[in-house]
Protein backbone atom coordinates (compact mmCIF):
# COMPACT_ATOMS: atom_id res chain seq x y z
CA UNK A 1 0.00 0.00 0.00
CA UNK A 2 2.52 2.57 1.18
CA UNK A 3 5.27 1.84 -1.37
CA UNK A 4 2.75 2.11 -4.17
CA UNK A 5 1.50 5.41 -2.81
CA UNK A 6 4.95 6.96 -2.49
CA UNK A 7 5.95 5.65 -5.89
CA UNK A 8 3.01 7.39 -7.46
CA UNK A 9 3.74 10.54 -5.47
CA UNK A 10 7.31 10.54 -6.80
CA UNK A 11 6.34 10.16 -10.43
CA UNK A 12 3.85 13.00 -9.92
CA UNK A 13 6.78 15.34 -9.28
CA UNK A 14 9.59 13.82 -11.34
CA UNK A 15 13.17 14.78 -10.53
CA UNK A 16 14.00 15.43 -14.18
CA UNK A 17 12.12 18.73 -13.86
CA UNK A 18 15.11 19.88 -11.79
CA UNK A 19 17.71 18.98 -14.38
CA UNK A 20 17.61 22.01 -16.75
CA UNK A 21 17.87 24.50 -13.86
CA UNK A 22 20.60 22.47 -12.18
CA UNK A 23 22.62 22.21 -15.40
CA UNK A 24 22.57 26.00 -15.82
CA UNK A 25 23.42 26.55 -12.14
CA UNK A 26 26.28 24.07 -12.21
CA UNK A 27 27.78 25.26 -15.50
CA UNK A 28 27.41 29.01 -15.02
CA UNK A 29 27.58 29.35 -11.25
CA UNK A 30 29.18 26.44 -9.43
CA UNK A 31 31.90 25.50 -11.93
CA UNK A 32 33.26 29.08 -12.11
CA UNK A 33 33.18 29.19 -8.32
CA UNK A 34 35.20 25.96 -8.14
CA UNK A 35 37.57 27.43 -10.77
CA UNK A 36 38.11 30.33 -8.38
CA UNK A 37 39.69 27.94 -5.90
CA UNK A 38 41.94 26.54 -8.65
CA UNK A 39 43.06 29.54 -10.69
CA UNK A 40 43.82 31.70 -7.66
CA UNK A 41 46.81 29.40 -7.23
CA UNK A 42 48.15 29.77 -10.78
CA UNK A 43 50.02 32.38 -12.82
CA UNK A 44 47.20 32.77 -15.39
CA UNK A 45 47.65 36.06 -17.26
CA UNK A 46 47.24 37.59 -20.69
CA UNK A 47 51.01 37.75 -21.17
CA UNK A 48 51.57 34.05 -21.79
CA UNK A 49 49.53 31.18 -23.08
CA UNK A 50 50.51 28.50 -20.54
CA UNK A 51 48.93 28.43 -17.11
CA UNK A 52 51.17 27.04 -14.37
CA UNK A 53 50.66 26.26 -10.73
CA UNK A 54 52.08 29.08 -8.62
CA UNK A 55 51.19 28.12 -5.06
CA UNK A 56 50.18 30.98 -2.81
CA UNK A 57 52.28 33.54 -4.73
CA UNK A 58 49.22 35.66 -5.60
CA UNK A 59 48.12 35.80 -1.99
CA UNK A 60 51.57 36.67 -0.65
CA UNK A 61 52.19 39.41 -3.22
CA UNK A 62 48.73 40.94 -2.77
CA UNK A 63 49.12 40.69 0.98
CA UNK A 64 52.64 42.12 1.13
CA UNK A 65 51.94 45.13 -1.12
CA UNK A 66 48.91 45.94 1.05
CA UNK A 67 46.22 45.86 -1.67
CA UNK A 68 44.50 42.78 -0.27
CA UNK A 69 43.99 44.18 3.19
CA UNK A 70 43.18 47.65 1.85
CA UNK A 71 40.48 46.45 -0.55
CA UNK A 72 39.08 44.12 2.08
CA UNK A 73 38.93 46.90 4.64
CA UNK A 74 37.39 49.36 2.17
CA UNK A 75 34.77 46.78 1.15
CA UNK A 76 33.78 46.02 4.74
CA UNK A 77 33.66 49.67 5.79
CA UNK A 78 31.62 50.51 2.70
CA UNK A 79 29.17 47.67 3.38
CA UNK A 80 28.63 48.71 7.00
CA UNK A 81 28.19 52.38 6.03
CA UNK A 82 25.73 51.53 3.27
CA UNK A 83 23.74 49.24 5.56
CA UNK A 84 23.57 51.98 8.19
CA UNK A 85 22.62 54.87 5.90
CA UNK A 86 20.23 52.88 3.74
CA UNK A 87 18.31 51.66 6.77
CA UNK A 88 18.35 55.00 8.55
CA UNK A 89 17.05 56.79 5.43
CA UNK A 90 14.59 54.01 4.60
CA UNK A 91 13.13 53.85 8.10
CA UNK A 92 12.98 57.64 8.34
CA UNK A 93 11.09 57.85 5.07
CA UNK A 94 8.74 55.03 6.08
CA UNK A 95 7.85 56.81 9.31
CA UNK A 96 7.46 60.14 7.51
CA UNK A 97 5.24 58.69 4.78
CA UNK A 98 3.38 56.11 6.86
CA UNK A 99 -0.17 57.46 6.54
CA UNK A 100 -2.03 56.57 3.35
CA UNK A 101 -2.64 60.04 1.96
CA UNK A 102 -2.46 61.15 -1.65
CA UNK A 103 0.69 63.19 -1.06
CA UNK A 104 2.42 60.32 0.74
CA UNK A 105 1.57 57.82 -1.99
CA UNK A 106 2.98 60.13 -4.66
CA UNK A 107 6.16 60.82 -2.66
CA UNK A 108 6.69 57.08 -2.07
CA UNK A 109 6.51 56.45 -5.81
CA UNK A 110 9.02 59.26 -6.38
CA UNK A 111 11.45 57.72 -3.90
CA UNK A 112 11.28 54.44 -5.79
CA UNK A 113 12.56 56.04 -9.01
CA UNK A 114 16.26 55.86 -7.98
CA UNK A 115 15.77 52.12 -7.31
CA UNK A 116 14.81 51.47 -10.92
CA UNK A 117 17.56 53.68 -12.35
CA UNK A 118 20.92 52.31 -13.43
CA UNK A 119 23.46 52.54 -10.59
CA UNK A 120 26.04 53.71 -13.10
CA UNK A 121 23.78 56.60 -14.10
CA UNK A 122 23.23 57.50 -10.43
CA UNK A 123 27.00 57.55 -9.99
CA UNK A 124 27.47 60.01 -12.88
CA UNK A 125 24.69 62.25 -11.58
CA UNK A 126 26.36 62.51 -8.19
CA UNK A 127 29.77 62.99 -9.74
CA UNK A 128 28.38 66.14 -11.33
CA UNK A 129 26.50 67.17 -8.19
CA UNK A 130 29.51 66.73 -5.89
CA UNK A 131 32.19 68.48 -7.96
CA UNK A 132 34.08 71.20 -6.00
CA UNK A 133 32.32 73.81 -8.17
CA UNK A 134 29.19 71.66 -8.41
CA UNK A 135 25.57 72.07 -7.43
CA UNK A 136 25.78 70.89 -3.81
CA UNK A 137 28.51 73.37 -2.94
CA UNK A 138 26.51 75.99 -4.83
CA UNK A 139 23.49 75.35 -2.59
CA UNK A 140 25.60 75.35 0.57
CA UNK A 141 27.24 78.59 -0.57
CA UNK A 142 23.85 80.22 -1.12
CA UNK A 143 22.62 79.09 2.30
CA UNK A 144 25.69 80.22 4.22
CA UNK A 145 26.40 83.26 2.07
CA UNK A 146 30.01 82.36 1.33
CA UNK A 147 31.60 80.43 -1.47
CA UNK A 148 31.92 76.75 -0.56
CA UNK A 149 34.24 74.37 -2.44
CA UNK A 150 34.34 71.14 -0.47
CA UNK A 151 35.99 68.37 -2.53
CA UNK A 152 33.35 65.75 -1.66
CA UNK A 153 34.93 63.11 -3.85
CA UNK A 154 38.55 64.08 -3.16
CA UNK A 155 39.02 63.30 0.52
CA UNK A 156 41.02 60.26 1.50
CA UNK A 157 39.04 60.05 4.75
CA UNK A 158 35.48 61.10 4.01
CA UNK A 159 34.88 60.20 0.36
CA UNK A 160 34.03 56.59 1.25
CA UNK A 161 31.26 57.94 3.50
CA UNK A 162 29.99 60.20 0.72
CA UNK A 163 29.95 57.33 -1.78
CA UNK A 164 28.17 55.08 0.72
CA UNK A 165 25.53 57.82 1.13
CA UNK A 166 25.07 57.88 -2.66
CA UNK A 167 24.64 54.10 -2.66
CA UNK A 168 22.10 54.43 0.17
CA UNK A 169 20.31 57.20 -1.78
CA UNK A 170 19.82 54.84 -4.71
CA UNK A 171 18.40 51.98 -2.62
CA UNK A 172 16.61 53.77 0.24
CA UNK A 173 13.29 53.62 -1.64
CA UNK A 174 13.38 49.82 -1.48
CA UNK A 175 14.16 49.80 2.26
CA UNK A 176 11.37 52.34 2.76
CA UNK A 177 8.82 50.08 1.04
CA UNK A 178 9.85 47.10 3.14
CA UNK A 179 9.65 49.11 6.36
CA UNK A 180 6.23 50.43 5.30
CA UNK A 181 5.05 46.86 4.74
CA UNK A 182 6.46 45.94 8.15
CA UNK A 183 4.68 48.84 9.85
CA UNK A 184 1.39 47.73 8.27
CA UNK A 185 1.68 44.26 9.84
CA UNK A 186 1.73 45.69 13.39
CA UNK A 187 -1.55 45.04 15.13
CA UNK A 188 -3.54 48.23 15.80
CA UNK A 189 -4.82 46.84 19.12
CA UNK A 190 -1.29 46.61 20.54
CA UNK A 191 -0.69 50.26 19.68
CA UNK A 192 -4.07 51.26 21.08
CA UNK A 193 -3.32 49.45 24.36
CA UNK A 194 -0.01 51.29 24.67
CA UNK A 195 -1.72 54.58 23.90
CA UNK A 196 -4.27 53.96 26.66
CA UNK A 197 -1.37 53.25 29.03
CA UNK A 198 -0.17 56.76 28.28
CA UNK A 199 2.82 55.94 26.07
CA UNK A 200 4.02 58.87 23.97
CA UNK A 201 5.05 58.69 20.35
CA UNK A 202 8.75 58.07 21.02
CA UNK A 203 8.15 55.40 23.70
CA UNK A 204 5.72 53.63 21.38
CA UNK A 205 8.28 53.61 18.60
CA UNK A 206 11.18 52.46 20.78
CA UNK A 207 9.32 49.88 22.87
CA UNK A 208 6.75 48.50 20.44
CA UNK A 209 6.99 49.45 16.81
CA UNK A 210 10.73 49.15 16.27
CA UNK A 211 11.02 45.71 17.94
CA UNK A 212 8.05 44.48 15.91
CA UNK A 213 9.82 45.61 12.73
CA UNK A 214 12.51 42.95 13.30
CA UNK A 215 11.72 40.88 10.16
CA UNK A 216 11.95 43.99 8.00
CA UNK A 217 15.21 44.99 9.69
CA UNK A 218 16.64 41.51 9.08
CA UNK A 219 15.81 41.64 5.41
CA UNK A 220 17.00 45.21 4.90
CA UNK A 221 20.26 44.96 6.83
CA UNK A 222 21.21 41.60 5.34
CA UNK A 223 20.51 42.63 1.74
CA UNK A 224 22.19 46.03 2.13
CA UNK A 225 25.26 44.60 3.84
CA UNK A 226 25.81 41.62 1.57
CA UNK A 227 24.65 43.41 -1.60
CA UNK A 228 26.97 46.37 -1.16
CA UNK A 229 29.95 44.05 -0.62
CA UNK A 230 29.39 43.09 -4.25
CA UNK A 231 29.15 46.79 -5.22
CA UNK A 232 30.86 48.30 -8.24
CA UNK A 233 28.82 50.68 -10.42
CA UNK A 234 28.38 53.67 -8.12
CA UNK A 235 31.98 53.73 -6.95
CA UNK A 236 33.32 53.23 -10.47
CA UNK A 237 31.19 56.11 -11.75
CA UNK A 238 32.07 58.52 -8.93
CA UNK A 239 35.68 57.86 -7.86
CA UNK A 240 36.97 54.80 -9.79
CA UNK A 241 38.45 53.68 -6.47
CA UNK A 242 40.25 56.93 -5.66
CA UNK A 243 41.47 59.12 -4.11
CA UNK A 244 44.57 57.07 -3.35
CA UNK A 245 42.74 53.73 -3.31
CA UNK A 246 40.59 54.76 -0.34
CA UNK A 247 37.37 53.68 -2.09
CA UNK A 248 38.82 50.72 -3.96
CA UNK A 249 36.26 47.97 -3.38
CA UNK A 250 37.25 44.38 -4.16
CA UNK A 251 35.19 44.50 -7.36
CA UNK A 252 36.92 47.70 -8.50
CA UNK A 253 40.27 46.03 -7.95
CA UNK A 254 39.11 42.90 -9.78
CA UNK A 255 37.92 44.95 -12.76
CA UNK A 256 41.12 47.00 -12.92
CA UNK A 257 43.55 44.09 -12.67
CA UNK A 258 41.46 42.06 -15.12
CA UNK A 259 41.78 44.94 -17.58
CA UNK A 260 45.56 44.88 -17.07
CA UNK A 261 45.60 41.18 -18.01
CA UNK A 262 46.57 40.01 -14.51
CA UNK A 263 43.86 37.35 -14.48
CA UNK A 264 45.25 35.24 -11.63
CA UNK A 265 45.43 38.21 -9.29
CA UNK A 266 41.88 39.21 -10.22
CA UNK A 267 40.79 35.62 -9.54
CA UNK A 268 42.52 35.68 -6.18
CA UNK A 269 40.60 38.79 -5.15
CA UNK A 270 37.39 37.28 -6.48
CA UNK A 271 38.04 34.30 -4.21
CA UNK A 272 38.70 36.65 -1.27
CA UNK A 273 35.34 38.35 -1.95
CA UNK A 274 33.57 35.00 -2.19
CA UNK A 275 35.07 33.75 1.08
CA UNK A 276 34.38 37.02 2.91
CA UNK A 277 30.73 37.09 1.87
CA UNK A 278 30.33 33.39 2.69
CA UNK A 279 31.91 33.78 6.11
CA UNK A 280 29.81 36.86 6.89
CA UNK A 281 26.49 35.76 5.38
CA UNK A 282 25.69 32.96 7.77
CA UNK A 283 26.50 34.71 11.08
CA UNK A 284 24.81 37.93 9.94
CA UNK A 285 21.58 36.19 8.98
CA UNK A 286 21.64 33.96 12.07
CA UNK A 287 22.28 36.91 14.38
CA UNK A 288 19.44 38.94 12.90
CA UNK A 289 17.10 35.94 13.00
CA UNK A 290 17.92 35.36 16.65
CA UNK A 291 16.91 38.93 17.42
CA UNK A 292 13.53 38.11 15.91
CA UNK A 293 13.12 35.00 18.07
CA UNK A 294 13.76 36.84 21.33
CA UNK A 295 10.76 39.05 20.71
Amino acid sequence: MLPKGTARRRSDHPLWFLIPALVILVVFFFVPTVFNFVYAFTDWSSFKSAINFAGVDNFTSLFSNGTLLNSLKVTLVYAVLVAFFQNAFGLGLALLLERDTMVNRAVRVAFFIPVIMSALAVGYIFQALLKPDGALNGILGAVFGTSVSIPWLGSTTWTIVVVAVVHAWKWMGLSMLIYLAGLKTINEDVLEAARLDGANRWTMFRAIRFPLLAPAVTFNVATALLGSMNGFDIVQATTEGGPGGTTELLNIFIFRTFGQGLFAQATTMSLVLFLTVTILAFPVIRFLRKREDVL
Binding site: P14, A128, M229, T267
Partner: protein, 294 residues
Protein backbone atom coordinates in the same frame (compact mmCIF):
# COMPACT_ATOMS: atom_id res chain seq x y z
CA UNK B 1 -19.88 34.95 19.24
CA UNK B 2 -20.65 37.17 22.21
CA UNK B 3 -16.97 38.13 22.49
CA UNK B 4 -16.83 39.51 18.96
CA UNK B 5 -20.17 41.22 19.45
CA UNK B 6 -18.94 43.11 22.48
CA UNK B 7 -15.50 44.05 21.19
CA UNK B 8 -16.61 45.17 17.75
CA UNK B 9 -18.47 48.32 18.84
CA UNK B 10 -15.66 49.52 21.11
CA UNK B 11 -13.17 49.13 18.31
CA UNK B 12 -15.25 51.06 15.83
CA UNK B 13 -15.87 53.70 18.46
CA UNK B 14 -12.17 54.10 19.07
CA UNK B 15 -11.19 54.22 15.41
CA UNK B 16 -12.64 57.58 14.38
CA UNK B 17 -11.29 59.28 17.49
CA UNK B 18 -7.80 58.01 16.72
CA UNK B 19 -8.20 58.89 13.08
CA UNK B 20 -9.24 62.46 13.79
CA UNK B 21 -6.72 63.34 16.45
CA UNK B 22 -3.62 62.41 14.46
CA UNK B 23 -4.33 64.57 11.40
CA UNK B 24 -5.17 67.58 13.55
CA UNK B 25 -1.87 67.36 15.40
CA UNK B 26 0.42 67.02 12.41
CA UNK B 27 -2.05 67.37 9.59
CA UNK B 28 -0.51 70.51 8.19
CA UNK B 29 3.12 69.77 8.99
CA UNK B 30 3.45 66.25 7.63
CA UNK B 31 2.54 66.83 3.94
CA UNK B 32 4.74 69.91 3.82
CA UNK B 33 7.63 67.99 5.38
CA UNK B 34 7.15 65.09 2.95
CA UNK B 35 7.16 67.35 -0.08
CA UNK B 36 10.15 69.36 1.18
CA UNK B 37 12.21 66.22 1.79
CA UNK B 38 11.32 64.91 -1.66
CA UNK B 39 12.21 68.21 -3.33
CA UNK B 40 15.54 68.44 -1.56
CA UNK B 41 16.62 64.80 -1.76
CA UNK B 42 15.16 63.88 -5.17
CA UNK B 43 14.30 67.18 -6.80
CA UNK B 44 17.83 68.60 -6.78
CA UNK B 45 19.54 65.61 -8.50
CA UNK B 46 16.68 65.12 -10.97
CA UNK B 47 16.54 68.82 -11.86
CA UNK B 48 20.30 68.78 -12.38
CA UNK B 49 19.89 65.92 -14.89
CA UNK B 50 17.01 67.50 -16.81
CA UNK B 51 18.43 71.03 -16.82
CA UNK B 52 21.90 69.92 -17.89
CA UNK B 53 20.51 67.60 -20.57
CA UNK B 54 18.74 70.63 -22.07
CA UNK B 55 21.82 72.89 -22.22
CA UNK B 56 24.45 73.57 -24.85
CA UNK B 57 27.92 72.13 -24.37
CA UNK B 58 29.30 75.48 -23.20
CA UNK B 59 26.51 75.95 -20.66
CA UNK B 60 26.85 72.37 -19.41
CA UNK B 61 30.61 72.54 -18.93
CA UNK B 62 30.11 72.97 -15.18
CA UNK B 63 26.82 71.25 -14.42
CA UNK B 64 24.83 73.51 -12.10
CA UNK B 65 21.23 74.10 -11.12
CA UNK B 66 20.66 77.14 -13.33
CA UNK B 67 17.92 76.78 -15.89
CA UNK B 68 19.20 76.44 -19.45
CA UNK B 69 19.26 79.67 -21.44
CA UNK B 70 17.37 77.89 -24.18
CA UNK B 71 15.77 74.44 -23.81
CA UNK B 72 17.53 72.10 -26.19
CA UNK B 73 16.42 68.79 -24.65
CA UNK B 74 15.17 67.21 -27.86
CA UNK B 75 18.11 68.48 -29.91
CA UNK B 76 20.42 66.77 -27.40
CA UNK B 77 18.35 63.58 -27.53
CA UNK B 78 18.73 63.65 -31.31
CA UNK B 79 22.49 64.19 -30.96
CA UNK B 80 22.77 61.17 -28.64
CA UNK B 81 20.84 59.06 -31.12
CA UNK B 82 22.93 60.29 -34.03
CA UNK B 83 26.47 59.88 -32.74
CA UNK B 84 25.98 57.28 -30.04
CA UNK B 85 25.16 53.69 -30.81
CA UNK B 86 22.02 53.94 -28.77
CA UNK B 87 19.69 51.90 -30.95
CA UNK B 88 22.10 48.98 -31.28
CA UNK B 89 22.73 49.17 -27.53
CA UNK B 90 18.98 49.12 -26.90
CA UNK B 91 18.56 46.00 -28.99
CA UNK B 92 21.67 44.48 -27.41
CA UNK B 93 20.10 44.97 -23.98
CA UNK B 94 16.88 43.33 -25.17
CA UNK B 95 18.83 40.51 -26.84
CA UNK B 96 20.43 39.42 -23.57
CA UNK B 97 17.60 40.36 -21.20
CA UNK B 98 14.55 38.72 -22.80
CA UNK B 99 15.93 35.16 -23.24
CA UNK B 100 17.60 35.27 -19.83
CA UNK B 101 14.40 36.36 -18.08
CA UNK B 102 12.19 33.85 -19.93
CA UNK B 103 14.78 31.15 -19.27
CA UNK B 104 15.08 31.71 -15.52
CA UNK B 105 11.29 31.95 -15.14
CA UNK B 106 10.58 28.67 -16.95
CA UNK B 107 13.49 26.60 -15.63
CA UNK B 108 13.24 28.15 -12.16
CA UNK B 109 9.48 27.43 -11.89
CA UNK B 110 9.98 23.85 -13.03
CA UNK B 111 12.63 23.27 -10.37
CA UNK B 112 10.69 25.19 -7.71
CA UNK B 113 7.55 23.09 -8.28
CA UNK B 114 9.48 19.88 -7.57
CA UNK B 115 11.39 21.39 -4.63
CA UNK B 116 8.22 22.81 -3.12
CA UNK B 117 6.29 19.55 -3.38
CA UNK B 118 8.85 16.88 -2.54
CA UNK B 119 10.01 16.39 1.00
CA UNK B 120 13.16 14.63 2.03
CA UNK B 121 16.78 15.38 2.58
CA UNK B 122 17.82 15.35 -1.09
CA UNK B 123 15.29 18.03 -2.03
CA UNK B 124 16.26 20.13 1.00
CA UNK B 125 19.95 19.92 0.07
CA UNK B 126 19.29 20.80 -3.58
CA UNK B 127 17.10 23.71 -2.47
CA UNK B 128 19.76 25.06 -0.11
CA UNK B 129 22.39 24.84 -2.84
CA UNK B 130 20.10 26.34 -5.47
CA UNK B 131 19.27 29.44 -3.41
CA UNK B 132 22.83 30.01 -2.16
CA UNK B 133 23.41 32.20 -5.23
CA UNK B 134 21.14 34.89 -3.74
CA UNK B 135 23.90 35.86 -1.33
CA UNK B 136 27.10 34.48 -2.83
CA UNK B 137 28.89 36.66 -5.39
CA UNK B 138 29.47 35.06 -8.82
CA UNK B 139 33.05 34.19 -9.76
CA UNK B 140 33.26 36.88 -12.39
CA UNK B 141 36.83 36.27 -13.61
CA UNK B 142 36.72 32.51 -14.00
CA UNK B 143 33.35 32.76 -15.74
CA UNK B 144 35.25 34.42 -18.59
CA UNK B 145 37.73 31.54 -18.68
CA UNK B 146 34.93 28.99 -18.70
CA UNK B 147 33.11 30.82 -21.51
CA UNK B 148 36.29 30.77 -23.57
CA UNK B 149 36.62 27.02 -23.06
CA UNK B 150 32.99 26.61 -24.12
CA UNK B 151 33.46 28.87 -27.14
CA UNK B 152 30.88 31.30 -25.75
CA UNK B 153 33.19 34.20 -24.83
CA UNK B 154 31.82 37.54 -25.98
CA UNK B 155 28.58 36.01 -27.27
CA UNK B 156 25.01 36.82 -26.33
CA UNK B 157 24.50 33.14 -25.47
CA UNK B 158 27.35 33.28 -22.95
CA UNK B 159 25.93 36.42 -21.34
CA UNK B 160 22.45 34.87 -21.18
CA UNK B 161 23.90 31.78 -19.50
CA UNK B 162 25.77 33.89 -16.94
CA UNK B 163 22.66 35.92 -16.08
CA UNK B 164 20.58 32.75 -15.82
CA UNK B 165 23.15 31.17 -13.49
CA UNK B 166 23.05 34.29 -11.32
CA UNK B 167 19.30 34.84 -11.09
CA UNK B 168 17.89 31.28 -11.11
CA UNK B 169 18.42 31.22 -7.35
CA UNK B 170 16.21 34.30 -6.89
CA UNK B 171 13.40 32.72 -8.95
CA UNK B 172 13.68 29.36 -7.20
CA UNK B 173 13.55 31.10 -3.80
CA UNK B 174 10.46 33.19 -4.60
CA UNK B 175 8.55 30.48 -6.49
CA UNK B 176 9.23 27.58 -4.09
CA UNK B 177 7.73 29.59 -1.25
CA UNK B 178 4.71 30.33 -3.42
CA UNK B 179 4.25 26.73 -4.62
CA UNK B 180 3.91 25.60 -1.00
CA UNK B 181 0.86 27.85 -0.62
CA UNK B 182 -0.94 26.21 -3.58
CA UNK B 183 -3.24 23.39 -2.35
CA UNK B 184 -2.04 20.01 -3.77
CA UNK B 185 -5.71 19.06 -4.35
CA UNK B 186 -5.70 21.30 -7.42
CA UNK B 187 -3.08 19.05 -9.00
CA UNK B 188 -4.84 15.88 -7.88
CA UNK B 189 -7.98 16.78 -9.77
CA UNK B 190 -6.09 17.06 -13.05
CA UNK B 191 -4.14 13.89 -12.30
CA UNK B 192 -7.33 11.91 -11.80
CA UNK B 193 -8.29 12.99 -15.31
CA UNK B 194 -5.09 11.35 -16.53
CA UNK B 195 -2.77 14.35 -16.93
CA UNK B 196 0.98 13.68 -16.68
CA UNK B 197 3.45 15.93 -14.83
CA UNK B 198 4.15 18.08 -17.90
CA UNK B 199 0.47 18.85 -18.38
CA UNK B 200 -0.14 19.36 -14.66
CA UNK B 201 2.74 21.82 -14.55
CA UNK B 202 1.83 23.63 -17.75
CA UNK B 203 -1.94 23.79 -17.31
CA UNK B 204 -2.42 23.99 -13.53
CA UNK B 205 0.75 25.22 -11.79
CA UNK B 206 2.23 27.71 -14.24
CA UNK B 207 -0.97 29.82 -14.54
CA UNK B 208 -1.30 29.90 -10.74
CA UNK B 209 2.26 31.20 -10.42
CA UNK B 210 1.45 34.39 -12.33
CA UNK B 211 1.63 36.85 -9.42
CA UNK B 212 4.97 35.59 -8.12
CA UNK B 213 6.40 35.34 -11.64
CA UNK B 214 5.36 38.95 -12.26
CA UNK B 215 7.37 40.07 -9.23
CA UNK B 216 10.37 37.96 -10.24
CA UNK B 217 10.21 39.32 -13.80
CA UNK B 218 10.33 42.90 -12.57
CA UNK B 219 13.23 42.28 -10.20
CA UNK B 220 15.32 40.39 -12.73
CA UNK B 221 14.59 42.83 -15.57
CA UNK B 222 15.76 45.58 -13.22
CA UNK B 223 19.02 43.75 -12.46
CA UNK B 224 19.84 42.78 -16.03
CA UNK B 225 18.73 46.02 -17.72
CA UNK B 226 20.98 48.01 -15.34
CA UNK B 227 23.90 45.59 -15.08
CA UNK B 228 27.26 46.87 -16.24
CA UNK B 229 29.73 44.92 -14.08
CA UNK B 230 29.15 41.42 -15.44
CA UNK B 231 28.55 42.74 -18.96
CA UNK B 232 31.98 44.46 -18.89
CA UNK B 233 33.64 41.10 -18.26
CA UNK B 234 31.57 38.88 -20.54
CA UNK B 235 30.58 40.95 -23.59
CA UNK B 236 32.42 44.26 -23.16
CA UNK B 237 33.56 45.51 -26.57
CA UNK B 238 31.66 42.77 -28.47
CA UNK B 239 27.98 43.47 -27.90
CA UNK B 240 26.63 46.85 -26.82
CA UNK B 241 24.07 47.14 -24.05
CA UNK B 242 22.70 50.46 -22.75
CA UNK B 243 24.77 50.54 -19.53
CA UNK B 244 27.92 49.41 -21.39
CA UNK B 245 27.33 52.13 -23.94
CA UNK B 246 26.74 54.69 -21.18
CA UNK B 247 30.01 53.65 -19.59
CA UNK B 248 31.87 54.25 -22.86
CA UNK B 249 30.04 57.49 -23.67
CA UNK B 250 30.68 58.81 -20.17
CA UNK B 251 34.31 57.68 -20.05
CA UNK B 252 34.96 59.57 -23.27
CA UNK B 253 32.41 62.29 -22.53
CA UNK B 254 33.84 63.33 -19.18
CA UNK B 255 37.17 63.79 -20.88
CA UNK B 256 35.44 65.84 -23.58
CA UNK B 257 33.23 67.62 -21.02
CA UNK B 258 30.00 66.51 -22.66
CA UNK B 259 27.81 66.52 -19.58
CA UNK B 260 24.74 67.54 -21.61
CA UNK B 261 25.03 64.42 -23.77
CA UNK B 262 25.74 62.11 -20.81
CA UNK B 263 22.63 63.31 -18.99
CA UNK B 264 20.53 63.16 -22.17
CA UNK B 265 21.72 59.56 -22.52
CA UNK B 266 20.81 58.79 -18.90
CA UNK B 267 17.28 60.12 -19.39
CA UNK B 268 16.77 58.11 -22.57
CA UNK B 269 18.09 54.85 -21.12
CA UNK B 270 15.98 55.21 -17.96
CA UNK B 271 12.75 55.87 -19.85
CA UNK B 272 11.72 52.26 -20.68
CA UNK B 273 11.86 51.10 -17.05
CA UNK B 274 10.46 54.42 -15.81
CA UNK B 275 7.40 54.19 -18.07
CA UNK B 276 6.84 50.54 -17.13
CA UNK B 277 7.08 51.50 -13.47
CA UNK B 278 4.70 54.44 -13.67
CA UNK B 279 2.13 52.35 -15.53
CA UNK B 280 2.32 49.35 -13.20
CA UNK B 281 3.58 50.92 -9.95
CA UNK B 282 0.81 49.61 -7.71
CA UNK B 283 1.42 45.98 -8.68
CA UNK B 284 5.18 46.36 -8.69
CA UNK B 285 5.29 47.83 -5.20
CA UNK B 286 2.89 45.32 -3.65
CA UNK B 287 4.66 42.44 -5.40
CA UNK B 288 8.09 43.42 -4.14
CA UNK B 289 7.02 44.11 -0.56
CA UNK B 290 4.90 40.98 -0.16
CA UNK B 291 7.93 38.75 -0.73
CA UNK B 292 10.23 40.49 1.72
CA UNK B 293 8.42 40.60 5.06
CA UNK B 294 7.40 37.20 6.32
Amino acid sequence: MTATATTAPTRTAAAPRRGKRAPRLRGAVQPVAAILVALLVLGVPFWLVVATAAKTQAEALDPNLEAPGEWRLFENFAAVFADGRMMSAFFGSLLVMVPAVVGVLVLGSMAAWILGRRGGRLSAAIYALAISGIVLPPAVVTIVLLLRQLGLAGTALGMIGVYMGMYLSTVIFFVTGFVRTIPPELEEAARVDGAGPVRVFGLIILPLLRPVLATATILICLYIWNDVFYALFVIGGRIDTLPLNLYQVASAGLYLQNWHLIFAYIILMSLPLLITFVVAQRRIISGITSGAVK
